[in-house]
């Protein structure tokens, strides 16, 4: 399983904090995971297609080309606004 987390405005728009995705032992790219999530419904398609979407794999920022495997923690979120 891949644990997927959503934060801030994205979490609210998707109405989802955490989502579990089975990768059936396959090695995937973040972009593949994103595609599966986008296919869920129109809102997810729209929200997860934003060009400013950020992605963290096991709590490190990564590009969409990063590889994901079973047991990984993936997170998607909007640009950060702390400080």
């Amino acid at each position: 399983m891949i644990k997927i987390l959503f934060f801030a405005a994205l979490r609210e728009r998707l109405d989802c904090e955490q989502y579990l995705l089975s990768c059936e032992g396959k090695m995937l790219q973040v972009a593949d995971v994103l595609q599966q999530l986008q296919s869920r419904c129109h809102t997810w398609q729209q929200e997860l297609s934003r060009s400013d979407l950020l992605c963290a794999l096991n709590q490190q920022l990564v590009p969409l080309t990063a590889s994901v495997q079973d047991g990984d923690e993936l997170a998607f979120f909007p640009p950060v606004t702390g400080g």
Binding site: A8, D52, Q60, F77, P78, V80, T81, G82, G83
Partner: protein, 162 residues
């Protein structure tokens, strides 16, 4: 590098302190911790506060974070600063949860031998924190709740360090 050579390098002990917390912090006690650091002749501190909106409608603000990653991101930023300047201590505190106008949000404190490194490192850390640490602000105003949009100027501020 031979051990003799290594032995002749100045010994600089560097400490990093990171906290992500809902509790407030005390500027005086943070400053006190920093100034006790050995071999430091300069302390620079920055504190960021909740600012009123231009139309005076802000009730409060909520800061959300990614537990675990936020701390890791702040440590990485402190280490980056440490690799660019010779610093004695780097302290970063970021608050989360709901905060009212003029409340303290963030503290960055640097202790170093000389002021130039401390000033530069403090600005560097704030610029990186604003662009890299997973924290998000939501404003609660008279007309509703709004997520704060990221600013291009914050992104552009990184360019001077590259």
């Amino acid at each position: 590098m031979s051990w003799r050579f290594f032995h002749r390098l100045p010994v600089v002990s560097m400490s990093i302190f990171i906290a992500v917390q809902s509790d407030d912090f005390c500027l005086a006690s943070e400053y006190d911790k920093l100034r006790r650091h050995s071999a430091c002749g300069a302390v620079v501190t920055f504190s960021g506060l909740v600012r009123e909106l231009s139309d005076n409608t802000l009730h409060s603000m909520t800061l959300e974070h990614y537990p675990g990653m936020t701390e890791q991101a702040l440590i990485a930023i402190a280490q980056q600063a440490q690799s660019r300047w010779q610093l004695g201590a780097v302290h970063i505190i970021h608050r989360v949860g709901t905060l009212k106008q003029n409340e303290q949000i963030v503290f960055v404190g640097i202790a170093s031998a000389h002021r130039a490194a401390a000033f530069a490192a403090c600005e560097f850390i704030m610029d990186y924190l604003k662009n890299r640490a997973p924290l998000w602000k939501k404003e609660h105003t008279a007309s509703g709740d709004y997520w704060v949009a990221a600013k291009d100027s914050d992104q552009q501020a990184l360019a001077r360090w590259e």
